[in-house]
């Protein structure tokens, strides 16, 4: 029982990341009809927004400490962050410590801008081209973005920890009456899950309760009619692309303390997120979220020792197995509209 609760919890944070990326993917597919293989790269760029801010906050000047020596025996150069000088040791250290949450503010405008530039500069030229062309160009774009990041940040992962207040883990088991240490869960992963829930809620509220959202939903259902009514739906869809980029970017920012980011992290999530979108139903927002959590939890269960003993290798194929079953039995996905991905 405790093992089951543990794996459900484990699935939640992974599911949160899948859901956030898949939400953006399906939003873009639903509005612009584009299959965006560069979406994983947006997640990765979001993560590097956090790294960049952390580096900016750690920007230092060098002082020479004569009393200590470096590896060559020369006087040691000591780095002193400007932030500490400007705000004093306590506030300065706290700002550096909280760089990841602060990066949310930094990432939103950056990601929206990147999203809009991507859409206006490249992707809009591919609206009327076959999906295969869109996949090729966006996949190519993803590789270019990845290489740019690698050029500036190197290939190794860059540790960017969560604020000290969130280190360690929460003994969930004790709260619900199990022995100590049976069900533990890191605080930051709880934060990640809550954050994802807030973002998902905000996106739904935006689409459901604002006029802008209403027009976008109308455009998703029948683009031509909305255009005939004299509404510039293209501009709204561009903004939606920026929004989807921001959602993926924020998912990346907050993911940084869970695993140190490297240039390749977007690709690791991209394929899984596509499976999530297909399982949830192409173009269906609730489908993407539900499938994200579902597959996250399933993946966690499949990596339990008892399950692997029974079905060796299941942990590596479970997600694709589900995708195959869904595509065979219900090609439109769990919550997809009738006709999408169906003959």
């Amino acid at each position: 029982m405790d093992a089951i609760i543990l794996q459900i919890l484990n699935g939640l944070d992974k599911g949160s990341a899948y859901a956030l990326i898949a939400l953006g993917l399906t939003l873009i597919f639903g509005t612009l009809g584009v299959v965006n293989f560069a979406h994983g790269a947006l997640f990765m760029i979001g993560a590097f927004c956090a790294v960049t801010l952390s580096k900016l906050l750690n920007a230092s000047y060098t002082t020479i400490d004569e009393s200590r020596t470096d590896f060559l025996g020369n006087p040691l150069k000591v780095e002193q962050p400007y932030v500490i000088d400007w705000f004093g040791p306590e506030v300065g250290a706290a700002i550096i410590d909280w760089s990841v949450p602060l990066a949310i503010l930094f990432a939103i405008p950056v990601m929206i801008l990147i999203g809009v530039i991507m859409e206006r500069g490249l992707i809009k030229h591919f609206y009327n081209r076959p999906h295969a062309d869109q996949i090729l160009v966006t996949f190519g774009l993803a590789i270019v973005l990845q290489e740019i990041i690698k050029f500036y940040f190197g290939a190794n992962p860059i540790p960017t920890p969560a604020p000290d207040a969130f280190t360690g883990s929460f003994d969930f088991g004790q709260v619900i009456g199990f022995d100590a240490n049976q069900i533990i869960y890191p605080y930051w992963r709880l934060v990640y899950f809550a954050f994802a829930a807030v973002i998902i809620g905000a996106v739904f509220a935006f689409l459901q309760f604002t006029t802008f959202g209403m027009v976008v939903r109308a455009g998703m259902a029948d683009r031509e009619t909305v255009q005939l009514l004299g509404i510039n739906i293209d501009r709204r869809f561009t903004i939606m692309f920026g929004l989807a980029a921001a959602v993926a970017g924020l998912a990346g920012v907050m993911y940084v303390p869970i695993n140190p980011p490297n240039y390749h992290m977007g690709m690791d999530f991209l394929v899984l997120s596509f499976v999530v979108v297909v399982v949830g139903g192409m173009g269906s927002l609730p489908g993407a979220v539900a499938a994200g959590f579902l597959l996250g939890i399933l993946e966690s269960f499949a990596s339990m020792g008892a399950v692997i003993d029974l079905l060796p290798g299941i942990n590596q194929i479970i997600i694709y197995l589900v995708a195959i079953i869904i595509l065979l039995t219900r090609p439109r996905g769990l919550m997809g509209r009738k006709g999408v991905m169906e003959e």
């Binding site: 543990l6 590896f71 040691l76 540790p159 533990i184 140190p260 490297n262 942990n315």
Partner: protein, 448 residues
Amino acid sequence: MSKSHLTRRGLLKTSAIAGAGVAMPTIFTASSASAFTNEPTGGTVTLGFNVPQTGPYADEGADELRAYELAVEHLNGGGDGGMMNTFSSDALQGNGILGKKVEYVTGDTQTKSDAARASAKSMIEKDGAIMITGGSSSGVAVAVQALCQEAGVIFMSGLTHSNDTTGKDKRANGFRHFFNSYMSGAALAPVLEANYGSDRKAYHLTADYNWGYTTEEAIVSSTEAMGWETVNTVKTPLTQTDFSSYIAPVLQSGADVLVLNHYGGNMVNSLTNAVQFGLRDKMVNGKQFEIVVPLYSRLMARGAGENVKGIFGSTNWHWSLQDEGSKAFVKSFGEKYGFPPSQAAHTCYVQTLLYADAVERAGSFQPCAVVEALEDFEFDGLGNGPTLYRAEDHQCFKDVLVVKGKENPQSEFDLLEIVEKTPVDQVTYAPDHPQFAGGSLGTCNNGG
């Protein structure tokens, strides 16, 4: 006056015979002393540096390449000579190798066996490389070593830690300076016993590929020999990025030590996740929970940041060593590039010097002569103390460093501290040890 009857058939016959005649010398001299693959004829000799320039190990590959460039500079008489001044053999004079100026070409292994083989093949066939060296993965090392054996060139492996490189996949033309999984286990076990006691329950997470298996086997057998119990061994996919679902069940198993048989990105993520789960703050079976990382790489430990503090592992070499060889190498590398070299850079630099030295001593670039010069070669002054290149399996035997993540690092390079230098006798094994059984060196190949 003779009459010539030049017919089509006659011409074909004549040219076939002439063709065979032209081809004959190479067919018949392939095994002779004078002709072998890419025999250098001009005033230069070309070495092939096959390192990961793209992909997840690109930073380690870049450090290897820096070391190779430094080695070439020193061999050609440039710079301060580095470890050539401390090397116990004095065959190298700083005038290239056998008087020929050393040049090099590079290939990108991408840390993929097929890409690594393709780049090695191209360096041998197109660029005339006489020796191939480098790499940052055992899968690549084993694949390229087999290719070099077939092609008749020497392979001086870079960073490869799997037992198989000089175990079941060993080849006569291949040589490894780096240490291996068995040695890590043998060196770590006594230190673990001294620090954590002999009554421990270990849980292993193991990368699901060749290197992971041999490391798990080595650590399990050496820790069980001192009384530890192995609670569980779980294979994790190489592509795994989030290890939470593998780490969460560790505490439930009753284990009080977690062994992470992971390298590179896997190690960074699994260690980060384990620390996030607060494993190191827990008390299990009345003992403090501990984590062990059998193979440390300083470059990659950087990715795990603070999380490495206090965690034991092993390493082939570390820049803080105070022997003359290490100091000379750190000085020339540090002055050229501005930071200390990694263990990958060290092993690659040493391998290049060892190859050049063997050629000088053999008086020939011929692979079989080089093999003979390297076999059972004993040397010192290259950073690891007295070292033997054992003839039976072409593995170097030297002291092994047990290290620990440093509690109070002084700089970004100062991540590991040396806890113990395990003497070579303690990590030496018989060539037919079960962990290395199967496979044989075969005979050296000169190609041609």
